[in-house]
């Protein structure tokens, strides 16, 4: 109709909108602070204490809560929605209130010894299949663990290799090798952890373990003895303990600028030896080595023979004459004989 003007139409539309939104509008002095990520709303408005009397308290609180919740719901309904399996779901943004963490942030672990090496060489990790084909059982078995494909422990026959001792127990040897590998792996794992956390680990034998061998204990005693301000010089010996002779430096070097003539002589002697083409032989060392080997063999035999009858003392077996002659030529450092020679 012609009498309908534009302003009338607009005002009518506004009134309709207001009617619709009457249900959900709430008048507040200050706007609330919203955190839709946490479904949180904060109302800063002053609460009128007059309305907060005892008898009307619950109603007042409920109406306040209703208004605030309405505003929060309005805010949530403004978020983008999507349909997930016939359910309408509103996607929440990230929460804006910062809350403290439970635990401090994890620090990146330093690489282990192997990881450092692999990075250096450019070795990549190869992904392995879960199952491996086992020819013996003709089926797919797992790579390691219970009922694995190639199980060493289940073998009932081990061939003795050519250069091995025929009376050696190959099964026991295999078990022992496995135990050593496990122990080595564990040791390396602990070393990696200690390196990662920068803990100084004491050397061999000094960290307390449940079973310590005689050598480890002796080493611990020695280390404790020299751990004084004067490096053990004034420490008394225990009864029947002998001071070890070769403490301190193991190698003694000549001073840099010393006796020139002796140095010259030494170098000329060295050249003469190198030119000579005859093998050098230290007779005492050779003889000692031979005697030691014979002692060891006889000791083993005697141990097997007399082991059950009890100890026979420090018997070095049958008497031996001096072996004499040429043993193996030995240059350089000789081993100290660690067995006493009995009466011949």
């Amino acid at each position: 109709m012609a009498s309908c003007s534009v302003e009338d139409v607009l005002t009518k539309a506004e009134r309709d909108e207001a009617e619709k939104l009457k249900g959900i509008t709430v008048n507040k002095e200050l706007d609330l602070e919203f955190d839709p990520g946490n479904l949180l709303a904060f109302d800063k408005n002053r609460i009128d204490t007059r309305e907060f009397k005892d008898n009307k308290r619950e109603d007042f609180l409920r109406s306040l809560a209703r208004d605030n919740t309405q505003l929060l719901i309005n805010e949530v309904w403004k978020l983008p929605t999507e349909r997930v399996e016939e359910i309408i779901v509103a996607k929440l943004p990230d929460p804006t209130t910062s809350l403290p963490r439970e635990k401090p942030a994890p620090k990146p672990k330093p690489p282990t010894k192997w990881e450092q090496f692999a990075k250096l060489k450019g070795i990549q990790k190869k992904k392995k299949t879960n199952l491996v084909w086992d020819e013996v059982h003709k089926e797919w078995r797992r790579r390691w663990g219970y009922k694995r494909a190639k199980d060493d422990t289940k073998e009932w026959l081990i061939e003795v290799p050519e250069n091995a001792d025929p009376s050696e127990d190959q099964f026991a040897k295999r078990n022992k090798a496995k135990k050593e590998r496990v122990a080595k792996n564990e040791y390396n794992r602990l070393k990696n952890i200690a390196r990662a956390q920068k803990i100084k680990v004491p050397g061999m034998g000094l960290a307390p373990t449940p079973r310590q061998s005689k050598a480890e204990l002796a080493q611990a005693v020695n280390v404790a003895k020299i751990s004084t301000a004067s490096v053990g010089k004034f420490q008394d010996n225990l009864p029947k303990e002998k001071t070890p002779k070769n403490t301190g430096k193991k190698r003694k070097f000549q001073p840099l600028i010393g006796d020139f003539s002796s140095e010259k002589q030494k170098q000329l002697d060295l050249l003469k030896v190198m030119d000579s083409k005859k093998p050098r032989l230290d007779i005492t060392k050779a003889v000692n080595k031979q005697m030691r080997e014979e002692d060891r063999d006889s000791a083993q035999k005697s141990k097997k023979g007399f082991g059950k009858k009890g100890r026979r003392g420090n018997m070095s077996g049958k008497g031996k004459g001096k072996a004499g002659g040429k043993g193996k030529a030995k240059k350089g450092k000789g081993q100290k004989p660690h067995m006493k020679q009995g009466k011949r």
């Binding site: 002053r46 605030n68 919740t69 309904w77 209130t97 963490r101 401090p104």
Partner: protein
């Protein structure tokens, strides 16, 4: 304790998973809370603890036996409990003549106490007394804090942060619109905190957003503020420090104009527009004959304009 976990290798996969779930992570899971009963508790306090446990299930453990612990004097026992159960929030309830119906809300950082607030219960209405149907366990509640004290007073600010931490549920990326059923409303007035819990009824309104009606539900508390132990500012700051991987990398060079279209800038080298290679349209190509006619026309025009 974490070092010990690494040295003791997990023997089964299940135990390995368990240990890994307790390691610190970049983005953390929901905090679990332990609800502890103190040396002597009244009926109110026991019921209050049970109600809060019901609200916070399944991420809560309730220690029902009496624990002779005084959190404000010596918090080592609480720290030990938190290490054992891997909980960073705690609620300790006790009752004695000096402090009747006492609840201590607290949170931990790295298994050491960060904040502790002691609130006394003046009035308590339990879940059992209000006979309405409740919402399912584990719904993320709507949290509303009212009162300017929560903004102005420093202790109230900290308490607000603590209560948010305690009662906000898991961190979710999306929420079902019909599932917003539970609202917790905290009002701060004259040193007292009124906590009410309502069930939200979404009614039809003229438009898309529904009209809210609230129904009384659940525990309602009237708290009075007693002692507190707040963390020092630098400890508080350290606790908030986020690791570098968490913040998402901001995508640069994306802008939106007024119409909502996505714009970006391309940076090019300077181009010689004369030598620009455009699409060749055969029909528009200038022919020899036309070219001379055009130049003639141009030449004819030029002297005319000169005049």
């Amino acid at each position: 304790l974490q070092a010990l976990h690494r040295i003791l290798k997990a023997k089964t996969r299940r135990s390995k998973r368990f240990l890994q779930s307790r390691q610190p992570k970049l983005t953390e899971d929901q905090k679990s809370s332990m609800i502890i009963r103190g040396g002597n508790t009244s009926q109110t306090v026991s019921q209050a603890l049970k109600d809060v446990y019901a609200l916070k299930k399944p991420n809560a453990v309730l220690y029902k036996r009496k624990n002779m612990v005084r959190p404000f004097d010596d918090s080592t026992a609480l720290e030990f409990f938190s290490k054992k159960s891997d909980c960073s929030l705690f609620l300790f309830g006790s009752h004695n003549k000096k402090r009747p119906n006492n609840l201590i809300f607290g949170r931990m950082f790295d298994f050491h106490v960060l904040d502790m607030f002691e609130l006394g219960i003046e009035r308590f209405v339990s879940l059992r007394d209000v006979k309405t149907d409740t919402c399912p366990e584990g719904t993320k509640p709507l949290l509303v804090f009212a009162g300017e004290l929560f903004e102005t007073d420093r202790e109230h600010q900290r308490l607000r942060s603590l209560l948010t931490d305690f009662f906000c549920g898991p961190r979710v990326s999306a929420v079902r619109l019909a599932g917003l059923e539970h609202v917790l409303h905290f009002t701060a007035l004259e040193g007292k905190i009124y906590m009410r819990s309502y069930k939200v009824l979404l009614k039809k309104s003229g438009c898309r957003t529904p009209r809210i009606q609230l129904q009384d539900m659940g525990p309602s508390f009237d708290f009075v503020m007693r002692r507190n132990h707040m963390a020092s500012d630098d400890l508080y700051k350290t606790a908030h420090r986020q690791p570098r991987g968490v913040k998402p990398k901001k995508k640069k060079n994306i802008s939106h104009d007024a119409f909502g279209t996505r714009l970006g800038r391309l940076h090019m080298q300077k181009q010689d527009l004369d030598k620009l290679q455009t699409r060749k349209m055969k029909g528009l190509r200038k022919r020899r004959g036309e070219q001379t006619a055009e130049t003639a026309a141009a030449a004819a025009k030029a002297p005319r304009t000169d005049e």
